[in-house]
Structures are given as C-alpha cells and as structure tokens.
C-alpha cells in the first residue's frame, strides 16, 4: 500500500485536475495533491527508515529510493508552489491551459516516482522512457518556435538514447540468464543483487551492457557529448518545468545509473564502471564549464551548469569510497535545491525584463532587489561558495579524489570550478549591477514565488552550515545501499 500510494496519487491528480476548468481551483487542487503526494512519500520514507526495506514484485523501496523520493517531493512542492504564481498570465488553449499543465506535471511526477520505486530493471527502463514522454509536451508547452524545436529534439535524442539503454538492459538480462538465473528473477533487483555476488556473470557481457546503459541513461543524465538536448529543453520549458527537469529528472536518470553501477561493480569490480563514470564526469564538467562562459541566455547557462554538476556527481559516483558516494548524493540534493532556486529567479527575470538574454539585462539590483538577492544566493551556491551547501558536497567529492591520489581528477575539478565561477560571476555581475533599466511597469510578484525562493535559499544556507540530523540519517541509509 505504502509503495503504491505515491504512484496512485499523481496519477489520480493528473486525471482529476483536468476537470477543473477554473485556474484558481486547478492551482489549489494541484497543490493539495502535491502535498498529499509528499505526505505519502514521507510516510514511505519513515517506514523504510524505521522498518527496513519494503519489497514488492515490481516495486520496492530502500535507502537510496528514500533519498531520491525526498528530493522529488521537496522540489515538486517548490516548483508547484512557484507555478501557482507563475502561471497567472497563461491563457486557455488546447493543451496550453493551467489544468493541462498540472495534468502533465503530475504525469511527469508519476513517472519519476515510478523510476525510483521500480524493483525491476525492465520497469525502470519503462519508467525512464515514460519520463521523457511525459515531459516532452511540457517542454513544448509554450508552442513557440523554440519550444517546438526543443521539444522535438528532446524527444528524439532522449528516445534514441533510452533505446540504447533498453539494449543494455537486455544484454544485462542475457548475462543474468546465462549465469543461470531464472527468467523471472533476471531483471529483479533483489534477485540480481543476490545473483551478482553468488554467480559468475560473463564479464564481457556485463561490460557490454554497462556501456550501453551508460550511453543510454547517460543521454538522459546529460553527459557530454550526449547532452545536446539538455540546454534546449531546459531553456525553452516553462520555468517550473525547467526546475523540475534540472533538479529531479536528471537525478532520476542518475539514480538509474547508480543502480546499474552497484550491480556492475559487484559483477566485474568497481574499476570498470568507476573509470567510465569518472571519464564522462570529467568530459561533462570541462565542456559544460567552458560553455557556461560564452552563454547569452540565462536559462541556457543554467542548463549547462546542470550538465556540469551532473558531471561532478558522476565523478563522485565513479570514485566511490565512503566520501565519493556521500559527496555524490549530497551534491545531488544540493544541486537540485540550488538549481531550482536559480530557475525560479530566472523566471522572475523573464517576467520583469521580458527577456532572458543576459546582455540585455542590467541594473537588476536596483529594479528588482529581492530577485537579485535570491539569484545571488543561488549563483554563489551553485559555484560552490561557502556558506552554502554545494561547497560542502564539492569539498566531499574533491576529498575523495585526492584521498585516492587521483590528482588529475582533482586538479581538473578545481580548475573547472574556477572557470565556472568566472562564467557565473561575470554574467551575474553584469546583470545585477549598473544603472537601473527602464522596465515595463512593475510586475507584481506573488508572495508564493518569494516564499519558494526564500525557502530554497534557506535550505542552501542551512545545509552549508550544518546538515540536519534527520537528513544525515537518510544519507547514511542511501550510502549503505551504494556501498
């Protein structure tokens, strides 16, 4: 029951919310459903923490699941609260009204929760593919030229990528079957977990499977050079969706990779998947870090920054070790909070200045001081400055790389951090400072928007100074799954 509830609620919400034609009602209903979903997730997580893993046929929940579910719940509450204010300018249209928006968002949420809860590698794949499908329409929601283009590219590139992941899944299944496992348990998580440690999997097949999985889910995570869809989709989607894409969808894809990493490293040793992850992580941070320097569109820059941070998480995962996993997970969470804050800020900038071109915005500090302050917090956090939380997680990952004497990884990491810092600070300073621009008559921001941004900022600060005890427990459970 606990396992099914987090899936049923958004599904029901998606259907029900379509019946509310009135915007306000739709807003309220969506929020209520989201809170209900969070409560469901909360009780599930509590149950897992106190009573151990929950196992079902196709669904299950362990520490890692809990961690990502908490992440999803938090960001979706923030995004939806932000959306209630953000959508106020939206008219009615086919597929383009608030109720459709909420319906699609709830579907999207359903698929992501599904990814985390799946107990079967096949179901995992199905849910991953479903995330693409559910979010594609959201990316193209505005139906402008850019949105349609981005939506198409997103759909095509991710579907192709995911197709390779399917092939990888099949090869892994093959390896399991060849190792003598029954057809029913060869995709099942618990079965496989027992299998990889007790049976001898053909290492060649496992490696082949992992390569395909990496290319496939890696596309969804946004590893360079499979990241091409990401800046388009994140920049063109409505802001709350951008936040969800960057802050939780990428994490879900990373979650899928983590699951495989666990299995593969037990089957063929941790070096093989680790090295590949570190390689793609490095490629991602270097390329994305450099591209951040030359972006003109705020949301595009944020999207590249997501690529960069996914690279960091991949490095943490690939390095492994106590700190590597810890850092990767912590960074997953921190990045999602910081990135959603930044996307919310970007949404406010668009409302205020009517553009996201960073070279056309200036004097923001004077005309929109609160937004600027929030953006500043987000920007400082995302470049890994204390006292914000990403400093801690980046420190953790770096510590692991140096403790393994991986000096090159550490050095590249540090240099990229500086490049990204340069990029972000350059763009931000030029937006925030200078004489105030003539802006269109004051757009009133709703209290909800500020409350959301403030909450995110407070979370960043809080996790940067002291990680709450309850979260540490969550983290410990998750890391114990990974190790």
């Amino acid at each position: 029951m606990l396992l099914v509830l987090p899936l049923v609620i958004p599904l029901a919400a998606a259907v029900l919310v379509l019946t509310f034609r009135d915007r306000e009602t739709a807003n309220r209903a969506a929020l209520i459903f989201c809170l209900a979903e969070s409560a469901a997730i909360g009780s599930l997580v509590w149950r897992v923490h106190t009573g151990g893993n929950l196992e079902g046929t196709y669904l299950r929940a362990d520490g890692l699941t809990s961690f990502f579910l908490v992440n999803i719940a938090l960001i979706s509450i923030l995004s939806l609260s932000y959306a209630t204010g953000y959508l106020r300018h939206m008219g009615e249209g086919r597929f383009a009204s608030p109720r459709w928006f909420y319906a699609l968002v709830n579907m999207f949420l359903f698929t992501m929760v599904g990814v985390c809860l799946s107990a079967n590698l096949g179901v995992l794949w199905i849910m991953m593919e479903a995330t693409t499908l559910a979010s594609a329409l959201l990316v193209g929601f505005y139906n402008t030229e850019g949105a349609v283009e981005a939506g198409w590219k997103y759909l095509v590139v991710c579907t192709v990528g995911i197709a390779f992941a399917l092939f990888g899944t099949i090869v892994f299944y093959l390896a399991a079957v060849k190792a003598g496992m029954s057809q029913t348990s060869a995709l099942d998580w618990l079965g496989l977990l027992a299998g990889v440690s007790q049976r001898r999997f053909d290492p060649n097949l496992v490696r082949l499977a992992f390569v395909f999985i990496l290319a496939g889910y890696g596309t969804k995570v946004g590893f360079v050079p499979m990241h091409s869809w990401l800046p388009d989709a994140h920049a063109e989607a409505p802001t709350p969706v951008s936040a969800m894409l960057s802050a939780i969808l990428l994490n879900c894809a990373m979650y899928a990779l983590m699951r495989y990493e666990i299995l593969v490293s037990r089957a063929v040793g941790k070096d093989f998947p680790g090295e590949l992850l570190v390689f793609f992580g490095l490629a991602s941070i270097v390329v994305a870090g450099l591209l951040i320097l030359v972006q003109r569109d705020l949301k595009r820059m944020l999207a590249y920054s997501s690529v960069e941070h996914m690279g960091m998480i991949a490095i943490g995962m690939g390095l492994g070790g106590a700190l590597g996993f810890l850092g990767a997970l912590l960074h997953t969470f921190n990045h999602s909070v910081a990135k959603s804050l930044l996307f919310f800020g970007a949404g406010s900038v668009r409302h205020k200045f009517g553009t996201l071109r960073m070279d056309r915005v200036s004097g923001m500090g004077r005309s929109a001081p609160l937004t600027t302050a929030m953006l500043a917090v987000g920007a400082l956090a995302i470049v890994g400055m204390p006292p914000f939380s990403l400093f801690v997680s980046e420190f953790t990952i770096l510590s692991e790389s140096f403790s393994q004497s991986r000096y090159v990884v550490g050095a590249v990491f540090l240099i990229v951090l500086s490049i990204v810092f340069g990029g972000f600070v350059h763009h931000f300073l030029h937006m925030a400072c200078g004489a105030a621009q003539k802006t269109p008559p004051e757009q009133d921001f709703t209290a909800a928007e500020y409350a959301v941004m403030f909450t995110a900022g407070a979370l960043l600060l809080c996790f940067g100074v002291r990680i709450p005890w309850s979260f540490t427990a969550l983290l410990r459970d998750a890391v114990s799954v990974l190790q």
Partner: protein
C-alpha cells in the same frame, strides 16, 4: 506435426536473410510511403520469427507478444504513418543527405560490421549468429536513417527500426523478456510515436515544413 516444426524452424533461421533485404530496401527507398511499407514488411518478418519461436518453445507469452507486434507494428503503426503523411500534406520525398548508392554502400558495410561484432560475442553465448547480426544491423540502420534523413517522419521510422533491432536482439538471445516488460516497452513505443506525431503537427504548424535539419534556432 513434423512439418509445422520444420517450417517454424525455417522461418526462424531464414528470417535473418529477409531482414537484411529489408535493410537494403530501406536504404534505397526514396519515398516515404515505400519506407513505411518496408518497415511493415520488416515487422511482419519479425512477427513471423516470434511466432516461429513461440511455436517451437510452445510458450504462451511469446504468442501474446507475436500478436501484439502484429497488431501494432505490422498494422497499427504503418497505418498511422500513412494517416500522418496524408494529414501533414508534405512532399513524398525522404530528403536524404546521402545518395541511394552511398546509402547502400554504408548499409552493407554496417551489415559486415554487425557480423564482425557479433562473432566476438556469439561464441560466448551460443545463439544463432545470423539473427543476432541482423538485429545489430537493424540497430545500426535505424541509427543511420535518423542521422541521414532530414524529414521528421523518417526519423521516427528510423527510431522504430532501431527498436525492432533491439527487440530482435532480445528475442534471439533470450527468447524475449518477461511479458509484462515487453508490453510496457511496446506501450512506451506507441506513446512515443504518438507524441512525435503531435510534435510533427506542431512543427508543420509552426515552421511550415517538416525538415528537422532546418530546426537550428537553438544552438551554442
């Protein structure tokens, strides 16, 4: 029932050759409708293979899968494609960036590569070499179609071919995955195509063409 078993065995073993032929046909087809028909044919061959396997293994699940594939990939999807072509009112040309001769050359090369790749693995897992090679070749061809054809519809088709290849690979190596997973995958494919169809309409409406290589506003 000797004969039926022999026939089923033949179907399974020779289908690879037929699939190779469809690949070459896809490479040279210039018209959208031809490509769709070839795809339908390809799906039919795969259906036959599944059915053959189902018969040989006498597995009920496999029969269900065969039925599903027949319903969707042989009938439903080609029909939907034809409907799309009609609705979108686009030119019939596939708008390739390579000439048919080049395409054939590349495709044959891919088939060759597939054999080379498969050989190194097939030995370890003891499966029919031809069928697996055909599967890999399908994957590669699907990828090739997506890269080399500018029209949105053919990209969708390329994706389906790729999917077919993956399915075939699953079939030949493991006699298919659990039924519910297969159904889920198929469901995803269908929904994916539906969405791509929606986007095809939107692209047509917004840009008044279907040439995806001209969608280049977002870059850098």
């Amino acid at each position: 029932m000797e004969f039926a078993e022999v026939a089923a065995g033949k179907v399974v073993s020779t289908s690879a050759v037929f699939l190779m032929m469809t690949i070459v046909l896809l490479a040279v087809s210039r018209r959208v409708s031809t490509a769709i028909l070839v795809f339908g044919l390809q799906s039919a061959i795969i259906t036959a293979q599944v059915a053959g396997t189902a018969f040989l293994e006498s597995s009920r699940e496999a029969w269900v899968v065969a039925g599903l594939i027949f319903a969707f990939k042989v009938l439903g999807i080609p029909y939907a494609f034809f409907w799309l072509v009609q609705k979108l009112k686009t030119s019939r040309d596939v708008q390739a960036v390579t000439s048919p001769a080049q395409s054939v050359f590349l495709v044959v090369l891919m088939i060759f590569v597939s054999y080379a790749v498969v050989r190194s693995y097939a030995f370890g897992i003891r499966v029919p070499e031809d069928a697996l090679a055909a599967a890999v070749a399908l994957i590669l061809t699907g990828a090739y179609l997506m890269v080399s054809r500018k029209k949105a519809l053919i990209q969708m088709l390329g994706l389906l071919v790729l999917e077919n290849g993956i399915f075939l690979a699953a079939l030949t190596t493991t006699f298919g995955m659990p039924l519910i997973i297969e159904m889920g995958i198929l469901f995803d494919v269908v929904i994916g195509l539906l969405l791509m169809g929606i986007f095809a309409f939107r692209i047509r409406d917004t840009f008044e063409h279907l040439d995806v290589s001209r969608l280049r506003k977002l870059r850098g």
